[in-house]
């Protein structure tokens, strides 16, 4: 086979590739409400940011509560949203704002443990007027001791009262994954709490 024939073949396929790219239909992008809100915030609309906060605050609260002491949760939630606001222009897929916020929340909790010196936590009873019962604290503590994926989903479901599909929608997880996490997490939680089926 001659060299010109070989190069001819290569050019043939290169051209085909180029033609295919040129004639490929433009992929339609579905713009969700969240994406529209993100765009609006990027354009300087602060009311849109408040909307975004309302939409995702519960989810972020749950993600943070699954990891850090209750007393710190509110501050970290605010930090998460401030950080998100400053870096919103870096978000590439505006439809994935939920997953992005959840990731910021997880990073913030890790950062929290890195910067805080080990201290002994005050009893929950002393700090809050709405005192959780010993039972409630034990349950939350049991949930926190579960593996990452399970504890986050269970807090969102049992504490924040979100349904499975809602958790999937807000966190960007697949509904099947959420379902599995809920089921397995509940099984482990029951074992921890000594509840028999």
């Amino acid at each position: 086979m001659s060299e010109s024939e070989m190069t001819g073949n290569i050019f043939f396929f290169a051209n085909r590739e180029a033609e295919a790219t040129a004639t490929a239909p433009v992929k339609e992008t579905v713009v969700s409400t969240e994406a529209r809100l993100v765009q609006s915030v990027c354009d300087g609309n602060q009311e849109a940011f408040a909307e975004l906060y309302k939409l995702f605050a519960k989810m972020v609260h749950g993600v943070v509560l699954a990891r850090v002491p209750r007393d710190e949760v509110d501050d970290i939630v605010q930090e998460v949203f401030l950080s998100a606001y400053k870096n919103l222009h870096m978000l590439r897929d505006q439809n994935a704002v939920g997953a992005w916020l959840a990731m910021i929340a997880r990073n913030r909790t890790t950062e929290f443990y890195r910067r805080t010196k080990p201290t002994e936590e005050l009893s929950e009873d002393l700090k809050h007027s709405d005192r959780p019962t010993t039972e409630a604290r034990e349950i939350l503590s049991a949930i926190r001791s579960l593996p990452e994926a399970y504890k986050e989903t269970l807090v969102l479901r049992l504490v924040e009262g979100m349904s499975g599909p809602e958790i999937a929608e807000r966190t960007g997880l697949k509904p099947e994954s959420v379902r599995v996490n809920l089921h397995r997490g509940m099984k482990l939680l029951r074992e921890k709490l000594g509840i028999k089926e």
Binding site: Y85, K86, A136, L158, S163
Partner: protein, 171 residues
């Protein structure tokens, strides 16, 4: 336990309902979003995008300039040319006849047949560095190892191309 209640809260499950009730105290209580100061805002999307495009363009231009410079330096080093070698003057007749500008013709000679006198000058460039390199390479004899590598490469190319041919036929 009823899985459906755990999943989408349809139906009833006293056990999970009990857990939900106990954990209610930890639930998120609606708060105001963090106060945003206008000077904190670190973004203006369109400006940032145009700045990014500008930086990218500058980076590309710098890369191209560097590449051209490097190529020039490399060609200069690998193929130094002595002064005056670049241009070769060849004397050839212009359409077989000399042009009137280039000729000094006496009046009495005008009637005579004009002599073919090669006087028109055409300047042409000497062969380029790459052409010279190619010519030089063609003279170089390959060692056994080089020849082997060359053969292997040609074989690989040939196989690839034959495969591509097959695909091309199928397509």
């Amino acid at each position: 336990m009823k899985e459906e209640y755990l999943w989408d809260k349809t139906g009833e499950d006293p056990e999970i309902e009990g857990l939900e009730k106990a954990l209610q105290v930890f639930r998120y209580k609606e708060t105001e979003p963090p106060a945003l100061r206008s000077n904190v805002v670190a973004f203006k999307t369109k400006e940032n995008q145009s700045r990014r495009v500008l930086f990218f363009g500058l980076a590309v231009a710098a890369c191209i300039a560097l590449a051209v410079l490097a190529l020039g330096v490399w060609m200069q080093i690998s193929n130094p040319q002595p002064k005056g070698e670049g241009l070769v003057e060849t004397v050839v007749p212009k359409d077989g006849f000399a042009s009137s500008d280039d000729l000094e013709i006496k009046e009495d000679e005008t009637r005579k047949e004009m002599p073919i006198k090669p006087v028109a000058k055409i300047r042409r460039f000497a062969p380029s560095a790459t052409q010279q390199n190619q010519a030089r390479n063609s003279e170089i004899k390959l060692t056994k190892e080089e020849q082997y590598a060359y053969d292997q490469l040609m074989r690989a190319l040939s196989i690839t191309s034959s495969k591509l041919n097959l695909v091309k036929k199928k397509v």
